[in-house]
Symmetry: D2
Subunit: 259 residues, 4 copies
Amino acid sequence: MTGKTADIRSDIAYSTPDRIVVRGKDLPNEILGKMNLGDFAYLQLTSKTATPEQSRMFNALLITLVEHGITPSAIAARMTYAGAPESLQAAVAAGLCGLGTVFVGTTEGSAKMLYEAFDGAGDHPDLQALAAKTVADFRARKQAIPGLGHPVHKPIDPRTPRLFQLAEENGMAGKYVKLVQLIQAEAERATGKVLPINATGALGAICCEFGFPWKIVRGFGVMARAIGLVGHILEESQSPMSYQLWHEIEDRASAHLRG
Amino acid sequence: MTGKTADIRSDIAYSTPDRIVVRGKDLPNEILGKMNLGDFAYLQLTSKTATPEQSRMFNALLITLVEHGITPSAIAARMTYAGAPESLQAAVAAGLCGLGTVFVGTTEGSAKMLYEAFDGAGDHPDLQALAAKTVADFRARKQAIPGLGHPVHKPIDPRTPRLFQLAEENGMAGKYVKLVQLIQAEAERATGKVLPINATGALGAICCEFGFPWKIVRGFGVMARAIGLVGHILEESQSPMSYQLWHEIEDRASAHLRG
Amino acid sequence: MTGKTADIRSDIAYSTPDRIVVRGKDLPNEILGKMNLGDFAYLQLTSKTATPEQSRMFNALLITLVEHGITPSAIAARMTYAGAPESLQAAVAAGLCGLGTVFVGTTEGSAKMLYEAFDGAGDHPDLQALAAKTVADFRARKQAIPGLGHPVHKPIDPRTPRLFQLAEENGMAGKYVKLVQLIQAEAERATGKVLPINATGALGAICCEFGFPWKIVRGFGVMARAIGLVGHILEESQSPMSYQLWHEIEDRASAHLRG
Amino acid sequence: MTGKTADIRSDIAYSTPDRIVVRGKDLPNEILGKMNLGDFAYLQLTSKTATPEQSRMFNALLITLVEHGITPSAIAARMTYAGAPESLQAAVAAGLCGLGTVFVGTTEGSAKMLYEAFDGAGDHPDLQALAAKTVADFRARKQAIPGLGHPVHKPIDPRTPRLFQLAEENGMAGKYVKLVQLIQAEAERATGKVLPINATGALGAICCEFGFPWKIVRGFGVMARAIGLVGHILEESQSPMSYQLWHEIEDRASAHLRG
C-alpha cells in the first residue's frame, strides 16, 4: 500500500496530542465559546466562516427542519427506544433512516430542480420562461413538482413567507428564490390547484442561494432532525407512548385473524 | 381505542393549517431568525429559553462533539454512502449507530457516575471523600473510570481546560465539575498513571451542572456528530476514499486465504 | 503501512476472478443447491458443516425469531419505509435497531446467565444448587431473570415445549436446558409467580448447547428478524398502515396542545 | 378512532396466549422442526409453502447474497461494533444501510428492467427484439445496464452459470432468464466490451421467474446479508481489525494537515 499513501485524504480536521484543529481553526481556542452550533455546522461543511447574514439564514434553515411533531420518523425512533433503551444512538439512527424522498428529503428535489432549470440557460435567463419550461417538463413526466403543496399547511405554509423574508433581509433572495416563486405561480395556473411553496421548497431555493451542492441538501434535514429526535426520545423516556401504541396497533391489525 | 384517547401525549410541538408551534413558541415568528441552532436544541429538550450563559455553554458543549477527524463512525458513514449514495440519511444513520459505550457515549458514563456519587450524600457532602469512594468503587469492580484518559490527547486533553474555563465564566463550575477534578486527582494518585480528564469527562460534568438526566446525555453526542457526518459525506461525495480503502482492506485481510 | 500487512485478517471468505470461497467451500459448486439457508448461516458462523441434528435444531432456532406480528420493530420499519420507500434496506435497518435488551436481545441475557452459572462450578456441578444460587443472585440484585415470563404467552409459552422437544430429539437437551428448567422452577417457588420459560429463555439455553459465545447470541435474533421485516415491508408496500397510524397518533398526542 | 378500526390490518401473523400463527400455520407445531429457514422466508413473504423446486432455488438465491468477503458493508458493521459492542443489532443495521443502488440493490434494477421489458409486449414477444430495445434504451439514457459487468469476476461471474443451472433443473429457466442472456449478448455486441451477467443480474431474472414484485427484490439481499454481517461481527469480536484500520486511515488521511 506504500505507493498509494498520498491518495486518500480528508481536509476536515486533525489532532495532535495537544491540538484539535477543524477547518484550520483551533477547536478549543478559536471555536469553543466563540461560535454557535449553526455557524460551526457552516464551517464544517463549507470550510468558511459564516458572515452575520449567512449565520442568521443558515441557523434559520436548520432550525426549520428540527421538529414537526409526531412524525413517522419520531414514531420509529420512539418504538426503537422501547426495545433498546441502552442504545439511544440506534433510536436516533432509526428515526433518521426514513428521511428520504417522501419526507424532508424533498428539499433535495427542490434544489436539484432549481439548479437544473438554470443549466445552459446563459447569464441572463428569462426566469418566467424557465418556470414555464420546468412546470411543463414535470407535468409531461407526470411527476409532482418538489417543494409545492402540503397536506396540512394551506393555502400557505407559514414557514415559507418568514423564510423568504429572512432571505430578503440577509441578501439571499436571488434568482433561485425568484424562480421557485414563479414555478409556484405557473404550477397553480397550469393545474388549477392551490399549491403553496412548502418549507422544503423554500429551503431548497435558499440552499441554492448558498451554493450548496444539491446532493448534500438532504443532509441539512438529517442533521437538524437528529436534534429533534433526541427531544422525542427524552420525552419517551419520561412519558412513554410506544408500549400502548404497540398493543393497540397489534390488536387492531390482527383482529381479523384471531376471529 | 376511544376510551384511551387521553393517555398518549407529546408536549413538544403541534401544527394547524396556519401555525407550527414548538415548546409554546410560534416557529416562524418567534424562533426563525431570532435564535441559533444550539439555543433551539436547548429549547427542544428543556422547554426553556437558554440564558446567555446557558447559550454559550450549551453551544460549546455540542460543538465539542461534532467533529474529531476520521473516526470509526466517519468511516462507517463513508462506506455506507459508497453503496447507497441515494440514501444520504442512511449513511448518517450508519455512522451514528456506533456512538455507544466506547466512543462518544462515554459522556453518559461520566454523568451517571457523578450523579450517583451525590446520591444519598446529603446537602453538604465532603467532595474529597466522594471522589475517593468513587475511585475505590470503580477499582474494586475493575472498571475504567469514565471520562478519564485518552489515547492521543495527553498529558491533557486540550478541550478540557477550555470547557472548564467556559463553565467558570458562565456560572457552571459547580459541584460536579469540582468532583470530576477530584476524581481525576484521586485516580492518578491511586493508579500512578497519567489520566487526563478527557472531553467526554468534562462534558459529562457540565451536563450534570445543567441538570440533564444522564440517560439523555449520549444524545448530545449523537445530534452533534450527525452534523459532523454530513460534512464527511459531502467530502466523500467530492473526494472519495471508500473504494480505495475497501480494495486495500479486502486484499490485506484475505491474502492468506488466496495463498 | 507495509510493515503491518500481516496483522489484519479475515478467515471467512475470498474471491478470485473465477472463484468465490466461503469457509473453505466453493460457493457456486459446493454450496448453492446443496445447502439450505439455515445451514449456510451455521457454516458462516462456525466454519463447520451442520450435522443433520444441528441443522434441524439451528433452523428451528432461527425460524422461532423471524416473526412475531406487529411488534415495535415492525412498526419502526413500516414508518421508515413510508418516508423513504426507495431505501428498503434502511427500513429493515431501522427495524433492527430496536432489538436490544428489552426485545429479542434477551436471548443474550439468558445465554450469559447460563454460561456464568457454570463458571467455576467444576465438572460435576449440582444443577439444583446452581439454579438456587442463580435465582438468589438475581433477586439480590433486584434484576429480572432473563428468559422467564411473558406478557401474553402464559402459563406457558407455546414455543418452549416444542423447542425443548426438538432439543431432546436432536441430542441437545444437555446441562444448559436442564439448568434453565431448574431455574424456572426455583424462580416460581421463590417468587410465587407464574414464570414460564419464554422463547428467548429456551433459545438461550439451546445456544449454550451449541457452544455459541453469548456475545453473538443476539445476532441470531437480528438475522432472523431481518427476514421478518422484509415481509412486513412487502405488506406495507401493498397495503399500508403507516400513514393512517401517523395521522391518528399525531392527532391524539397533540390534542391537548391544539386546545 | 373507533370508526376506523377495520382499516389497518396485517395478514402475516397473530398470537394468543397459547398460540403463535404465521401465515395460517401454527409456528411451534407445523413449522418448527419441519421447515428450513429459506422455506420459512418464502412462506413469510408469499404466504405459500415452497415446492421442493422452489425451495432449492430460493435457498440458493438467498445464500448467494449472504457473504462476499470484506465489503464496504462489512467494514461499516465492524467499525460500528468497535464503538458500540453492546449494540450488536446496531452494527448489523449500519452494515445493511449501504445495500443500495451500488451494491446488492442492483438485483432490484435487474428485476425492474426485465419486468418493464415485457410490459405491453403481448403474449408472444420476440425476445431478441426486447433485448435490442432494452439495450438501446439504456444506451440512449447513458445508463449502465443493471446486472451486467463485474470488477473482479470476469470474463464470467462464477455464480451465474451455477444459478442458471439450478434454474434449469428446477423449472425456473423461463422467459426472464432467457431475456437477460439475450440482453447480455446484445450489450456485448453493441459496446464491444466483456459484460458478464453478474450474480445480481442472474438473481434479478430468477426473482422475476418467481414473480416477486421488483420493489421487494432488494430485500432478499438485505435479509441474506444480515446473516453474513453477524458472521463478520463474531469474527471482529474475536479478532478485531477495526482499531488498527482506524488509526492507519486517520494517519494517512490527515498527514498533509499535520505537516
